[in-house]
Symmetry: D2
Subunit: 180 residues, 4 copies
Amino acid sequence: MALKLQKKELIFLILQFLHEKKYTDTVHKLERESAVFFNMPYFEEMMHMGQFDEAQHYLLAFTNLKANNYSRKIFFEIRKQKYLEALDKHDDVKALEILKKDLKVFASDNESLFKEMTQLLALNDFREMAPLSTYKDAETARKLLTVELKKLLRANPLIREKLSFPDFEPSRLLELLKKR
Amino acid sequence: MALKLQKKELIFLILQFLHEKKYTDTVHKLERESAVFFNMPYFEEMMHMGQFDEAQHYLLAFTNLKANNYSRKIFFEIRKQKYLEALDKHDDVKALEILKKDLKVFASDNESLFKEMTQLLALNDFREMAPLSTYKDAETARKLLTVELKKLLRANPLIREKLSFPDFEPSRLLELLKKR
Amino acid sequence: MALKLQKKELIFLILQFLHEKKYTDTVHKLERESAVFFNMPYFEEMMHMGQFDEAQHYLLAFTNLKANNYSRKIFFEIRKQKYLEALDKHDDVKALEILKKDLKVFASDNESLFKEMTQLLALNDFREMAPLSTYKDAETARKLLTVELKKLLRANPLIREKLSFPDFEPSRLLELLKKR
Amino acid sequence: MALKLQKKELIFLILQFLHEKKYTDTVHKLERESAVFFNMPYFEEMMHMGQFDEAQHYLLAFTNLKANNYSRKIFFEIRKQKYLEALDKHDDVKALEILKKDLKVFASDNESLFKEMTQLLALNDFREMAPLSTYKDAETARKLLTVELKKLLRANPLIREKLSFPDFEPSRLLELLKKR
């Protein structure tokens, strides 16, 4: 009996094959270009490594800043972390660029929050501002943030159905081809 | 009859001599180091040329940021102009440096004003903020500011008595020496 | 009869599928990670766009700077072009970085050539140096260089056998799976 | 009896007065603008402090790069030291700027020397080049250089007659004015 093979199923089979062959970059590119599977461990890894631009680029295959409140919050929080890390490294040039290029877009949602973020530029240490006084270091903050983002991703209707991978036997694509 | 020559009078005589010989840099250095004469035309010229650091350096020979309200206002306004010009040239790095190094010192006097100045960093054009909407260009702003500063200088007790030069005849120092 | 399917053949089938679905980024990542096929049109495109770092990254999946004389020449010429373009844009900082990070490694092969390249830093226009007097602009130079590099790639034993793609019928992978 | 007071003599009298009043900046400005006296200790001090631009600015009141071989050598050696210090601090941007703005002007005198200096840019440490292998640090090099420059200044016909100050009694200018 012929397999009613759908494009989506084939992509999962290819993802499995590429993963088994350890073609990791290709795996993540295909996840992104096909958008059939959101790889949470990969997303977590990018967040822990501070690869915020890569993480956002990956997210953009599945959603965008305006899609819904979950997505908006996710992008905002990633950019805020990127901003805080630039401030903490006293890289004012980069911080100001992030403020204007990445965070300003959220100013219409919450103007007073944006103004508060701008004020941080004038401080020597953003921990002087009350809500940030508990910020320890980049590593700790990234971990706390990732826990938060995982909740938002699982609650996000655009992501939650793309979090599970079919339960294939090993080397399923090769087996299917051999069986002919 | 012996001249009761005082140090201050001799300095004026030397200033006249140096001025007649067109040793202009020396004239202004001596004005600064002796602090017997505040050269208003020279101050105006620096302001019109946008030589804000030089203007402040000159001022510091006669007063300082904390001396009185006139002086405080004078320094604040010069630094604000320097800040606005950096913003207007989109030199964000310099603007942020001016904010933190030059303007932050005034934050304790007027916190809300300092916060407002910080907000300008996040704008593409500071004219978006109401009180600055009439700012034309650097040249015009410098002229308006200089008019304002001249009033503050003339009202400033530390400066106002140093604004007039004795009414010497030409080449007075040489004449005095020849008369012996 | 069972297909004696080999990993390499399957990768070609997957590349065809990804190409048909227009998953272009994934295609090039898989070309790179599997190194079964060198995509000359893609390489040409990167060169024409001046994406020199990406072009080198792609090349490194198939060969390296020391592999043979063809490869050495290919990498040297790409880096030289990158250097000349930085000089031509008067981006001295970048040019000097390219000289020290990218080109210095070839100094042991040809010391006088490296010294000549260093001399270019002190010129206002590298066209002052005789062999470069005919350099027109980046676009023209990239095209001439790409013609040259294609010859070197086709002559390079590490590349030449990876330049052809199997002659599959359309959607070959899906057909094979349906045939079961 | 009337003093046949000449401008030059009066300037020396004023310099003495300013020196006694510790108006040091004014003293050096007047030395510069009048060019009647080359203050060797001041020049040495600038060299020891690494104030190479200030030292050259001072020199330019008395001579210039093309005036004679002594002057040419003096300017070249100061700029070379400035260049070596930038290289030693790995400030490649500044080093390249010095090469192009300050040193290139000497290339016509000695092309091979200029080429050699350019080569230094490509080295990680200029001490790799034989004639510079004994360079210790900035402080030591500045001291050795200053000894050399003092010889060149004393031999330079444009400077050597301006190295001595008249043998005045203390407060000579005030005394002369009182004596009337």
